[in-house]
Amino acid sequence: MVAKVRSMRPFAWLPFTLLIGCSSPYQFSNEIGSFSTGVDNVASAYTAGYSSLFSDRLTYRTLIFNDTSAKLKLAISCSPAAPPSELPCEFYPQGAPQPSPSDPKLESDRRGVLDILNVLTNYAHALQAVTNAADRAAFDAAASRLNASVTALLSKAPNPAVAPAFSAGFNIFAWALGQALDQQRFDILKQAVSLANGPLQWDDHKGWVCPERSVCPVRSVAKTLGGQLDAISEARKLVLYDTVNALIKPLGPGYKNYTGRLGAANHTKAVLVQLEQAQPSQVTDALINAHNALRDGVNDPARSFSDFASAADQFAGLAEALKNDLATPAKAPSSNPGS
């Protein structure tokens, strides 16, 4: 038994070596969870905003058709026999040209934007994966069970006294292995976050800037998403502006559905004001700020991440508000008997 215990001794130095400078990736877990939720909300803001834009356009078109009692035709593109095309299947006033896409650039960009969102959410989810403490708990449980199984089997061997010695040695081995895997996770977290962030510098006028000839991937992706969200938001604002004007235009003395129509105008105006206040670029700037704070946190020898915690919370809150703002569509009047 003594010989066997001695044979375990080479493992004994390992944990103490690993203990020095070993870092836990799990301390960032909650804040990275907030960051990841924020990224998911930015993705939802895009899809909700895109759907709302088309819903707003439909509301506006329907309003105009109702107001003008237009004689309508169905677009050729709606026909089951029509060749596949990018032309929309919609009603259009008789005598007018066939409907064409309202926002061709936004529509043609959609696939590319979904790809960007996919890359960014996958990145955020990978950050969660390397900081997932449940994996370590599962590892500890599996190691503990293996130890118990070996010990139980050895206790039935011709020399059962070897079992406690093996158990002690295995515990040290499993502990050291767990620490080594934790260290690998922390190292890849630090490396990935630093490379994805790049050497951002704060400028009082421009915010976070990427020095010339440097690469700052998260900033590049966030700025591009901000541009797409701005474009959707601006397109919606114009449709909503036109809708409010069309809604209030006929209102006056003797108008039969004055209350209903004014209610719809008020609702649409409120959505417009909400969008005026929503700043997509502010949300994507908060994303950049939070990621930069994460970079600082993982590179701080003291592992201080209070700045990251507050930046991640701020980003998550702004992203959720943006998602809600972009998801609210315009509203048609409940009935429209005209004047």
Binding site: A126, A129, A141, A142, S149, R185, A196, K223, A231, L238
Partner: protein, 120 residues
């Protein structure tokens, strides 16, 4: 020199700034019109300016999406994501290995118990 995303945003903001002034100016003139007919004449031009403003945002968004800076950024993030997932999976693999060995040993232990018999 390749156009950066910052260049595109700066050009977009400059163009929008000019249009915003024109729109504000046209709206002020429309409000000052002495008759409804005179005010209505501004509707078309104002709407065109606003539509042009939206088109600038959409064009800039499209340019950013197709920039080489973005393509390079996406490639970097994809690669880093893959590296992190590979490392994250190692702990699960080791835990799975431990579990499989434990299952095997548990089965072996039962067999050993049977072979040993009630008398030991």
């Amino acid at each position: 020199m390749a156009t950066t995303i910052d260049d595109i945003i700066a050009a977009r903001n400059a163009a929008v700034h000019i249009l915003d002034h024109e729109i504000q100016d046209a709206l002020a003139k429309q409000n000052a019109a002495t008759s409804e007919a005179a005010a209505d004449r501004f509707n078309g031009p104002i709407h065109q300016l606003m539509a042009q403003r939206v088109a600038i945002f959409e064009r800039a968004a499209d340019d950013m999406l197709n920039s080489s800076e973005l393509a390079s950024a996406l490639n970097t993030l994809r690669s880093l994501t893959s590296d992190m997932n590979t490392v994250a999976a190692r702990m699960g693999s080791v835990a799975g290995f431990f579990k499989n060995v434990a299952d095997f040993l548990d089965a072996a232990s039962k067999v050993a118990g049977v072979l040993k018999g009630p008398g030991g």
